[in-house]
Amino acid sequence: MKSGQAEIVETSKAIQKSGLMSRRNAILEFILRIVAFFNTITSAILMATTNETLPFFAQFIRFHAEYSDLPALTFFVIANAVVSGYLILSLPLAFVHIVKSKTQNSRVLLIILDVAMLGLLTAGASSAAAIVYLAHKGNNNTNWFSICQQFNSFCERISGSLIGSFVAVFLLILLILLSAIALSRRH
């Protein structure tokens, strides 16, 4: 009887500890979601407000540049906006995970949606990165000139807005990791 009691006390302690760990897990997830939301919305706004007009007019060179001139950058803005909207909408669900204890099905749903959003965000960020690289370096073999030599601040803007997006990609990977660990931990 004594050993049985000791066992009961031990298992209840273990359950308490795991409850604490999963709560910490859920709170960390909530915080990461908020940080990722800020990253994506900043990227989207930075890219969408690019607008540069050169002060002089030359015969062959275009004198106005904005994000909608390049379709890959438009896709980038849309992808970031969609992902930031998703992150805001998933905050209540993440909050429920902190409070409730039996959250398996909703966690699976959250992992699936997170993976889909990760794919969308990575696609937007990397296609924009390819175009930005081209804008910086140009391509001699195809006679594609680098436009950064004329539009300096435009180039800096579009390069900087990529950073927030890639940080959000990394945070989304962490979020999926946390959800998976929390899923596998349930007794």
Binding site: D69, I112, A116, G119, A123, A125, S127, W144, R186
Partner: protein, 206 residues
């Protein structure tokens, strides 16, 4: 009489503990049996996971090799334009070939882990490792496929605002081959998403 009472006293607690331990053992057996029963569904999912991995290996190797061998030499020489196009003229396509090759080798290396999850459907650690590394590789594949896709789009349509001419009008064959490789990589992205979903569902405990 005293002896009887003592035997009764000793007898009772032992039977009480026996019954509770029996109850515990029964419960443990029950939970084990239900877990083993749930292992049946998981086994089906895991076999599907293994088959998906095999298909993804084929597709990624195909995509990488198709892009690697995309080459075209024009039969005539023009004054302003290059008359030869290959994958190494575009840094993005170089990144594509290398990244998809890395993904293919990762998939081959992950086959043993998948086999382990088939053999032991209740093991958590291999599934978790597979899910995490699949997520990282999904990001790499999507990045390579999307970057190559944006360059292929540019090659098809050009861009009037930046004076970038569409090269597909001269190098039609090269464009076609590159587009095929990008489409194959995108299909492998879908496969990876399915793999992660399967791992997540299989991780769920009943």
């Amino acid at each position: 009489m005293a002896k009887e009472s003592t035997t009764i006293d000793i007898g009772e607690p032992s039977t009480v503990t026996k019954s509770t331990s029996h109850a515990v053992v029964d419960e443990k057996k029950k939970s084990f049996v239900t877990a083993a029963g749930g292992g049946g569904d998981k086994r089906g999912l895991t076999i599907f996971d293994f088959l998906l991995r095999l298909a993804a290996i084929g597709i990624t190797i195909g995509a990488s090799s198709v892009m690697f061998t995309a080459e075209e030499t024009l039969p005539f020489f023009t004054q302003f334009l290059q008359f030869q196009a290959g994958y190494d003229d575009f840094p993005t396509f170089q990144f594509f070939v290398i990244a998809i090759a890395i993904v293919a080798s990762y998939l081959v290396l992950s086959l043993p882990f998948s086999i382990v999850t088939i053999v032991r459907p209740l093991a958590v650690a291999p599934r978790l490792i597979l899910l995490i590394s699949d997520t990282v590789v999904l990001t790499l594949t999507t990045a390579a496929a999307a970057a190559a896709a944006s360059i292929v789009y540019l090659a098809h349509n050009g861009n009037t605002n930046t004076n970038w001419l569409p090269i597909c009008q001269q190098f039609g064959d090269f464009c076609q081959t590159a587009s095929t490789a990008v489409v194959a990589a995108s299909i492998s992205v879908v496969f990876f998403i399915l793999l992660i979903v399967i791992s997540a569902i299989a991780l769920k405990r009943h």
